[in-house]
Amino acid sequence: MTIMTDPPRDDGFRLGKLISDTRYRSITFQVITLVLLVLGIGYLISNLLANLADLGQDLSYDFLAAPSGYDINQQPIPYDSQSTHLRATIVGALNTLIVAFLACVTATVLGVIAGVLRLSKNWIISKLMAVYVEAFRNIPVLIWIIIIFTVVANVFPQPRDFRGEEATASPLFGVIAATNRGVYVPRPYFTNGFGLTDEEALSQGATDADAFELAATQGALLDWLVILAVLAGSFFAARAILNWANRTQEATGKRPATFWPTLAVWIVPITLVCWFMGLSWEVPELRGFNFQGGILMRGSLIALWLALSIYTGAFIAENVRAGILAISKGQTEAAAALGLRPRRIMNLVVLPQALRVIIPPLISQYLNITKNSSLAIAVGYMDLTATLGGITLNQTGRAIESILLLMLFYLTISLLISFFMNIYNNSVRLKER
C-alpha cells in the first residue's frame, strides 16, 4: 500500500506520465487496447476484401435492384416475379413480422393461462399443465414445427376430396375448408365502400385491368382504415366510460353499471358502419385445382405459428408461475381477508405485482420467437430467411451481402422489441419514491 505524503507536484504534463502516473495509466492502457482492437478488426476486414478480390468477387448491393424472377406465395404487399430482390426482401421481412406477431400474442395468452393453471389446487389441471410445460420446453421447436406441418399435410383432406357427388370431405359450416394446403376461410369485403367503381376508375383515366385492380385495392385499404378508425373510437369511448365510472365511484361511493354501455359502444358503431358499407363475405369455392376466393391460411403458416406459440408458451408459463410464486402468500391472504374472491385476487392483487418479475424474461421470449421464426424454411414459409437468405442468396450468389442484411434485420428487430418492451417494463416496475 502506498501512502501519499505530499500532494503531487503540479509540474505540467509530460509524456512519461501516461505510464508512470496512476491518474493517466488506466486510460492509456484502454486507449492502446482500443487502437489495437480497431487495427485488428480493420486487418480482418481488409483481409476479407482482399481475398474476395482475389476470388474475383466484390461486395455490391446492386443485385437488390434487379428483378427477382421467383414467386412468393404469401404476399402482404403486391409482388410478382418481375419485382426486384429488394421487394422480395421486404415481402419476406413482412412475413417474418406477421408470424412473429401472431406467435407472440398467442404464446402470451397460452403462457399466462398455463402458468396460472399450473398453480391450481385442482390436481388434474395442475399436472396436465406440468406435462404440457415439460413436454414442450424440452423438445426442440424445429421438431414441433415439422410434426405439426406433417400432421396438417397428412391428416386433412386434399382439395380434390371436396369435389363431385361422392366427395369424402365437406367444408366446415359450409364455408370453412380445411385442406392439407391450409385453411380457406371466407373473406370480408364491402360492396358499398370507398373503393372506386369501374365507371369511376374509367372516368379517372384507368384503361386496363391493372388500373382497375389498383383502384379496387386502394378502395379496400380505405375501407379497412375506416373500420380501424371506428374501432379506435370505440376503444377511447369505452375508456371514457370506465374513467367516468371511477370518478363517480370516488365521488359517491357507488359504482354505476358499465357493462351494457361498454358493450353498446363496442358493437353499435361497427355494426352501423359495416351495414352502411355493405359488408359481404366471399366464400371459398372449389374451382380448378384449388379453392378460389376467401383467405388462405397456409399450412406452413399454421404449423409455424402453432409450434412457436405452444413452444414459447411453455417457457412463458414458467415465467408466469415464477412471477406468481414470487408474490408473498400474505398478499393473497390479506386480499382474501378483505372478502375478494380468488379470481379477483389473482387479477387485482397477484398478477399486477407478478408482472414485475414476469416482464423481463418475457422480453427474451419475444426475442426468441422472432429469431426462431427463421426456422420457417423447414416448412417452406416464405419469411426473410427464405427470401433474402434463401432464394435471393442462391440466385445471385451474393452470400456475404445477403447474410449481412439478414443480420442487420434481425438485430434491428430484436433491439426494437427490447426497446419497446423495456419502456413497458419501466411502466409496470415497482415505483420507489
Binding site: L55, D71, A399
Partner: protein, 339 residues
Amino acid sequence: MKKSVFLGTVAFAGLAAAAASAATLDDVKARGTLNCGVTTGVPGFAEPDANGEWQGFDVAVCRAVAAAVLGDATAVTFVPTTGKTRFTSLASGEIDMLARNTTWTFSRDTDLKFDFTGINYYDGQGFMVPAALGVSSATELDGATVCIQTGTTTELNLADYFRVNGMSYEPVPIETGAEAVQQYLAGACDVYTTDRSALAAQRAGFENPADSVILPEVVSKEPLGPLVRHGDSEWFDIVKWTLNALIAAEEYGVTSENVEELAAAPGDNPEVNRLLGTEGELGAMMGLDNEWARRAIAAVGNYGEVFSTNIGEETAIGLSRGLNAQYTEGGLLYSPPFR
C-alpha cells in the same frame, strides 16, 4: 521489434493463403484426396449405397478425376451440398470441384466466378402430376399448387413459364427433393417440378410409379455439368479433359474391360493411343502423367457404361439416352479431339 515480427507473420500467412488458393492440383496431390461436392442424395446421380459408398452418375465424375490425378478412384472425400450451400462451398475452397446436377447458366459462369468444365447430362425441366388428376399437358395447369425446390433454376423457369403462358400457380417452396416428394405424395401440391432426370429418378422410388405421370412439356434447357472455381486454368483443364476422356472413350469403343488391353498393345488408331498415353505426351501438357485417362476409364468405365449402370434403361431410374447419346448416334455428346 515484436510488432514487426507480428506483422511479418501476418503478411506471410496472407501470402501463403493467397498462394494456396491458386494451384488446386498441388493441393489435391498434397492432401492425397479429392474433395468433391455432390448432392445430399438423388437416386442414380449421387447417393450412398447400403455400405455407405457413394454411387451414381455424378459420383463417377468425381471418381474419374481422382483416378486421373491421384491414381486412386477411392481417394475422394464426398461433401454433400444443398442447393443453397453448393456455391459457397466451392467458392470458399471447401471442395475442389462440384459435380451435383448444377445447371450451366450465364450468371453462374460469369458473375459467380465459376467455370463449367462441360456437360455430363443434357436435361430439361418437366412436371410430374398424379395420374388421377387427368392432366395431359402442362398448359392445363392454371391455378395448380406446385412443389418446387427453392434456390434452383427450375424455380425461375417455373415463374417464367407460367407468366409467359398467362397462367397462375401457387408455389410451395421446399428445401430438398425428399421433402418435395413427401409433400407431393401427401397431395399437398398438385404438381412437382424439377429436372426430368430427377423426376424420373424419384418416381422410380415411389410405391406405385404408375400413379404419377411426367408431362410431355420440357420447359427449359438444363445442361448439367461439373464446375470448378474461376482462375485456376490448369485444374479446369484437368476436370474438363477427364470428362472429355470418358465421352471420347465411348466414341472410340474403349471400355473399362478392354482399356488395359488396348494400353498394353497399342493399336493403329492414333487417337486412342494418345488418349491412353501410349503415344504423345498429352498428360504431361496438363501436369499429369500419361496414364491419367487410362486410369479414369479403368476406374469408372466410359460415358456409356457410367450412364447405363447408374441411370440407364436397365436400372430402376430407366432414363433413355435421348440427347445424351453420342453425336454419331443423333445425340449431343461431342468431345473435342485428343491431339
